[in-house]
């Protein structure tokens, strides 16, 4: 649960530090960062939800039949 906001924080800080109009690498361009942060934010939220469910013990007993899903 804690990892997700940490990942987003590092991504945003990485973008702030590395975007540089004089640079030539991909990490210096804004577009890759925008795409990566846009796609990673819902993934990080998913990771938080996963952490929350696992703390609640919801994965201790996995469903064995499809009608349980």
């Amino acid at each position: 649960m804690i990892l997700a906001p940490v990942v987003i924080y590092f991504l945003v800080m990485g973008a702030v530090h590395n975007i540089n109009s004089a640079g030539t690498k991909d990490i210096n361009k804004p577009i890759p960062w925008l795409i990566i942060i846009a796609i990673f934010t819902p993934i990080a939220i998913g990771l938080m939800i996963f952490g929350f469910y696992s703390l609640k013990g919801e994965y201790d007993q996995l469903p064995e039949r499809s009608d349980e899903l």
């Binding site: 590395n18 991909d26 577009i31 890759p32 795409i35 990566i36 998913g46 064995e64 499809s66």
Partner: protein, 552 residues
């Protein structure tokens, strides 16, 4: 054997492709010669795998020819073209692939597997062929990069829909005790697609000059054109196949999903399993897959500086020798379960990546080569560039000398030493060296035969980890979700795991290398950390039990 090792790279590749093709034909013939049931499943596997292989081939050739494509469609100095180029690279892999998983997953659960993965194949093949037909930037201006971007996005969309369809289709035809083995054929396609793409590009490239290959209508277009033939054959075969029997039964009973997206991600119980699949299996598998197959290649080329053709040769051998293990681990997963095979592959990557990549650097230390091997020949080339600059209102002439020395050592080692010295010309015409290059760079390294085989073994080992982590994943994902929303539910985590987590390996590696410049292996911490986290989550929460009944 020794004679074979001495053949040219091109000849080796041709022989290699023949061997692989013969092996594949032999395996397929075995299927068709067996009992009627197996004959049926053999056709199902062949038609599904061939199409998926072609889709991977189509997706890879764009990446592999990126430099040439960039020159033709995204010329330097044009900001719009540069922006479109970045979008073509990042949006296709990160945004459009997962989106394609949702679009085609939904379609596959609503109208059927067969029609959907037929559509993805046509879209992929059509886009690839059309990329090969677009005139360069010089001929049609900004329309060229725009069209390439559009077709690349369609490619990403189609790739997002293909895998889930093929894996589901094969799994829904398979008996429960052979599901891991039969679906592992689908798992070979991502690696074989890379193998075929590498082979085709190298075969075309080695039969023409560099200028003929990179010209506007040059040889780089052939791999794109070849795609239409491959897709034509595959579409013909797929058209003759029937819909998945499990899905047909479901449809007849009127039990197909009306809204697969809502049922997959809106229902808590199923959404929980999507998250578990992503964070407990596919995320780690994605980084292991990418590091073993792609990062290794780019590391050998850009960091270790191995010569272009020898680098490809090492990769081809590594892939060729490791590919059969997809089938071995797929079959093994039917006996001992999927979980521990996948997690072992990830764990081995976590443990061995740094030693393996460290060995790549240590073994290619040119200073060590020079200490231990006699010099056979040394060819010096100098290029001088005169640069005139005004410093403090005084016109100053600089002479920049680029020296490249081609070294050949006794054991078969070869490399090029590059230095760049700067001298300033005084008013009396005498040149004074003001900047002597004390840190020469070493490029185009060619390894001795024993060292080349050591590198092949190391690449093979990393692809072996890929086969462990990747072979059982299709069966594992299929067994996790119910038939009516299987295509949607398994496609999204798969493409986030492979496309996003795996695809980020080079970007994060560049980011880490820029921050920690003294450690050439620092880029590996990303795949190691993701695989380690996935291993822990998987070990804690995944079940090793094989779901015998996927009919529900």
């Amino acid at each position: 054997m020794i004679k074979f090792l001495n053949l040219s790279v091109c000849a080796q590749i041709n022989i290699f492709i023949v061997i692989i093709t013969k092996q594949t034909v032999f395996q397929i013939t075995k299927f068709f010669m067996a009992s009627t049931d197996v004959k049926g499943i053999g056709k199902v596997i062949f038609s599904s795998s061939l199409g998926t292989l072609i889709e991977w081939y189509d997706f890879y050739i764009f990446g592999m020819l990126a430099k040439t494509i960039s020159v033709q469609f995204f010329p330097e100095g044009n900001d719009t073209a540069a922006l479109l180029s970045t979008l073509a690279i990042f949006a296709a892999g990160f945004l459009v692939r997962p989106f394609g998983a949702l679009v085609f997953g939904r379609l596959g659960d609503m109208i059927g597997r067969k029609s959907t993965f037929l559509l993805t194949l046509v879209l992929m093949g059509g886009s690839t062929f059309l990329i090969g037909l677009i005139p360069g930037y010089k001929s049609i201006g900004i329309a060229a990069p725009l069209l390439v971007l559009l077709l690349r996005l369609i490619q990403g969309l189609a790739l997002g829909g293909e895998y889930g369809g093929a894996a589901t289709y094969v799994a829904e035809h398979s008996p429960s005790n052979r599901r891991g083995y039969y679906t592992s054929w689908i798992q070979t396609t991502a690696t074989l697609g890379l193998f075929v793409a590498l082979g085709v590009i190298m075969a075309v490239k080695s039969n023409m000059s560099d200028a003929a290959f990179t010209a506007e209508w040059g040889g780089w277009r052939y791999p794109f054109w070849i795609s239409i033939l491959l897709v034509g054959v595959s579409v013909y075969i797929r058209l003759r196949m029937n819909e998945s029997p499990i899905y047909t039964k479901l449809k007849k009973a009127g039990k197909t999903s009306v809204n697969p997206l809502k049922e997959s991600f809106g229902h808590k119980a199923n959404f929980k399993m999507v998250l578990l699949a992503l964070f407990g299996a596919v995320m780690g598998q994605g980084v292991i897959w990418y590091t073993g197959q792609f990062y290794a290649q780019s590391f050998l080329e850009n960091t270790v500086k191995i010569e272009f053709m020898q680098n490809r040769e090492i990769l081809l051998w590594g892939i060729g020798l490791a590919t059969p293990f997809f089938l071995v681990f797929g079959a093994l997963s039917d006996k001992i379960g999927r979980k521990w095979i996948m997690l072992t592959g990830m764990l081995l990557g976590v443990i061995f990546y740094r030693p393996i990549f460290g060995s790549f650097i240590k073994d290619t230390n040119v200073k060590e080569w020079m200490k231990n091997a006699e010099v056979v020949s040394k060819e010096i080339n100098k290029k001088m560039v005169i640069k005139v600059d005004t410093i403090h209102a005084v016109v100053t002439r600089f002479t920049i000398t680029n020296t490249s020395i081609k070294w050949v050592l006794k054991d078969g080692f070869k490399f090029v030493e590059n230095t760049k010295d700067t001298a300033v010309q005084g008013s009396d015409g005498v040149e004074t060296l003001i900047k002597k290059d004390s840190k020469p760079t070493y490029t185009d390294k060619i390894l001795s035969t024993p060292l080349k085989w050591k590198f092949i073994f190391l690449v093979f080992t990393m692809i072996l980890f890929v086969t462990m982590a990747y072979a059982p994943i299709a069966a594992f994902l299929v067994e996790l979700f119910p038939t009516k929303i299987r295509y949607t539910s398994m496609s999204l985590p798969y493409h986030i795991g492979n496309g996003v987590f795996g695809g980020l390996v080079p970007f994060i590696a560049t980011l880490l290398s820029a921050s920690f410049v003294n450690d050439p292996l620092v880029g590996l911490w990303y795949p190691i950390a993701v695989a380690a986290l996935c291993c822990i989550i998987g070990a804690l929460y995944l079940s090793n039990k094989i779901d015998k009944n996927i009919m529900d």
